[in-house]
């Protein structure tokens, strides 16, 4: 999943199968929603092929200049595709700095999120993908500070009680694979930032650290991190998937297209800054 194009192709394949299933089951509404997602994914695929995105996520020496000139939303998209799960701005910036060239700051991210929604509302579907908030599994309102990509299925964009951990482990796998790819590719291998990022994830996953605990990052084995993360993921996946699937079904039933991306309207009319005692 380290390559955005691969991920998109995988997601396109999944979507096609799902449409076939939905059509066979006679669920026209679901099929329509899936078709729309498929179109979005295909547009995203086209856009990526056209711009000739650097395929390996490792910092390639040549396209540095071009990579750094990408708009911020492309940076965010690339970081999220690497992680494969909804992520907070801080983590997105961390991944960007570890694996990709160019500038990306957390402050830029917050303005970006508002722009995305505005752009969608003025001409829906004009862009191949949108950056949108994750949705709470029960209220279907936007979750604080978690960013997703509109081309992801709703099941991946809703957050249940177990999802923060599941997404953490998924992200750990994404980062470990990217570090692994960077180590295999020619060049100087993974950046120190990338190793530090992986280390920060690995220390919080049971059995992900090498046995001789004295080592500091250098001896960290990305494969071991992947295996450890998968092992814990197995514990949570089923329960998490059940919640997310149910929430996604509910969202498709009760929310409009735009709300499925940007969340149900928030409950209160006003934000009270002074509400915190």
């Amino acid at each position: 999943m380290s390559d955005p194009l691969d991920a998109l192709e995988k997601s396109i394949g999944t979507l096609r199968r799902a449409i076939r299933d939905a059509a066979a089951a006679g669920d026209a509404e679901r099929a329509r929603e899936l078709r729309m997602q498929l179109r979005r994914a295909e547009r995203a695929w086209d856009a990526l092929v056209d711009t000739g995105e650097p395929t390996p996520p490792s910092p390639p020496p040549a396209p540095v200049a071009r990579g750094s000139q990408l708009p911020a939303r492309e940076h965010v998209h690339r970081a999220l595709m690497l992680l494969g799960a909804p992520a907070a701005p801080k983590l997105i910036v961390g991944v960007h700095e570890a694996f990709f060239p160019g500038e990306l700051s957390a402050s830029k991210l917050s303005s970006l999120r508002r722009d995305e929604e505005r752009s969608y509302r003025s001409s829906p579907g004009a862009r191949p993908y949108y950056l949108c908030p994750a949705l709470a599994h029960d209220l279907l309102t936007p979750v604080r500070a978690l960013i997703t990509i509109s081309t992801w299925p709703l099941e991946r964009r809703v957050i249940g009680p177990l999802s923060p951990r599941v997404d953490f482990l998924t992200s750990a796998i994404g980062i470990a694979e990217a570090v692994h790819t960077a180590a295999d590719s020619t060049g100087e291998g993974p950046s120190p930032e990338a190793l530090r990022l992986l280390w920060r994830f690995a220390v919080n996953i049971p059995d992900a650290m090498p046995k001789d605990a004295s080592s500091h990052g250098g001896a960290l084995d990305p494969q071991q991190v992947v295996i450890a993360a998968r092992a814990e993921l197995d514990v949570h996946t089923d329960a998490d998937r059940a919640t997310r699937t149910a929430a996604a079904r509910q969202a498709r039933k009760s929310l409009g297209d735009d709300e499925q991306l940007f969340g149900a309207p928030s409950q209160g009319v006003t934000y009270l800054r002074s509400a915190r005692a």
Binding site: A88, P142, P161, L162, A239, S266, G268, A277
Partner: protein
């Protein structure tokens, strides 16, 4: 609470907006329950900070931007990425099992950050968890409510209340370090005091749904940086004594009526605010009013009461032994001021009957000190 008392308290507060109890005023209650001034100001919901500032002793705490930023940064770090650091710590120290990772964010309700909404949502989520349906291990910033003297106070556990072995544990995330398993006792105490109010509020919430007090542990989980690193570790802190003390004080708060009855009828702490929220009351007059009320200053008031600097200046002006703290003060039972202590020590004052023993001890101490000074002078 009886209506006349409420009316009387409102008159004490005057024109200002009523302030509810918060974690700080509850800490003040627990630490200095006997102070009449504090009791009256808090019960009437007066703005202690404004009053203290108006009489020339503005409170100087809550001002360190660095400390607050540091605290928030540490808390954010602990909770980043689905509480990854926190889960590791809890798995290591509290033996949380692998599947116990469910996380519930109660910072707002679908974008609404109002206390009452958050309280309703917290109640719903926690009760569901307590009854065993619905997942939930970590609850981020739940909003609790405690009725104090008939008025609601909203309390937000500094961090997370969560569930191990079917019991709720209040957690405090603090940025002072635990070095070799030891932390600064004053800071630990401040943290536990705060957490006690949360325990009581949480028990109250569950209690109203018929769930017993044993569902909430008396033990607080303190999460703080380990040694000289920035990585968190956790420790249990036993808060039984403090919970009991605060529970007792809260049950006695109803007795505020007895204190109010002792006051002159026209006494008020009103600042007479004008339209721009500027106090119009002459500071001297306000100070005179404050002086009519008994206050019990202790050095640790500085940690949690806005009036502390004012009370300290008064205690100093009266040469009161309070300034030196309860340890010193208790040594001199029956003597209130440093002037009297010095007078007795120098033999300038004639001790009353119950002071005779103390006076002898003091004169002895003075003699020893004088001898030492002579030796020092000769050397």
């Amino acid at each position: 609470m009886k209506a006349p008392v409420d009316g009387r308290l409102a008159a004490l507060r005057g024109s200002g907006k009523r302030l509810d109890y918060n974690a700080r005023s509850l800490a003040a209650l627990e630490n200095n329950p006997r102070c009449t001034l504090r009791a009256l100001l808090d019960a009437s919901g007066s703005n202690k900070a404004a009053i203290a500032a108006h009489v020339g002793h503005p409170p100087a705490f809550g001002q360190s931007v660095f400390a607050i930023t540091r605290g928030n940064a540490f808390e954010a770090m602990v909770k980043d990425n689905g509480c990854a650091e926190l889960l590791r710590v809890l798995r290591e120290t509290l033996e949380l099992t692998l599947p116990e990772v469910a996380y519930e964010d109660l910072n707002d309700v679908g974008g609404n950050g109002r206390s009452d909404k958050r309280y309703e949502r917290t109640e719903e989520v926690l009760l569901r968890a307590a009854r065993g349906d619905g997942e939930g291990t970590l609850f981020d910033h739940p909003m609790l409510r405690l009725l104090i003297g008939g008025h609601p106070a909203y309390l937000e556990p500094d961090l997370v209340a969560f569930r191990i072995d079917g019991r709720f544990h209040v957690m405090e995330i603090k940025s002072f370090p635990i070095i070799d398993g030891q932390a600064d006792p004053t800071q630990v105490r401040a943290a536990t005091t705060q957490a006690c109010a949360y325990i009581i509020a949480l028990r109250d919430l569950l209690g109203r749904a018929g769930i017993g007090a044993e569902a909430v542990s008396d033990t607080i989980v303190l999460v703080a940086p380990k040694d000289f690193t920035n990585r968190p570790t956790a420790a249990f802190v036993d808060a039984r004594k403090q919970v009991a003390a605060l529970t007792r004080q809260l049950s006695r708060i109803e007795r505020i009526g007895e204190l109010v009855d002792l006051l002159p009828d026209d006494l008020t702490f009103d600042l007479y605010l004008d339209e721009d929220e500027q106090p119009r009351r002459p500071p001297e007059e306000l100070a005179e009013t404050l002086d009519q009320v008994l206050k019990t200053y202790r050095p640790d008031c500085l940690n949690h009461c806005e009036m502390a600097f004012y009370c300290r200046s008064r205690a100093r002006a009266e040469a009161s032994l309070d300034v030196l703290g309860p340890v010193v003060r208790e040594q001199f039972g029956g003597i209130d001021t440093t002037t009297m202590v010095m007078g007795l020590a120098r033999g300038e004052l004639k001790p009353s009957e119950d002071q005779v023993e103390m006076a002898a001890a003091l004169r002895h101490a003075a003699r020893l000190r004088a001898e030492l000074e002579d030796l020092g002078g000769a050397a």
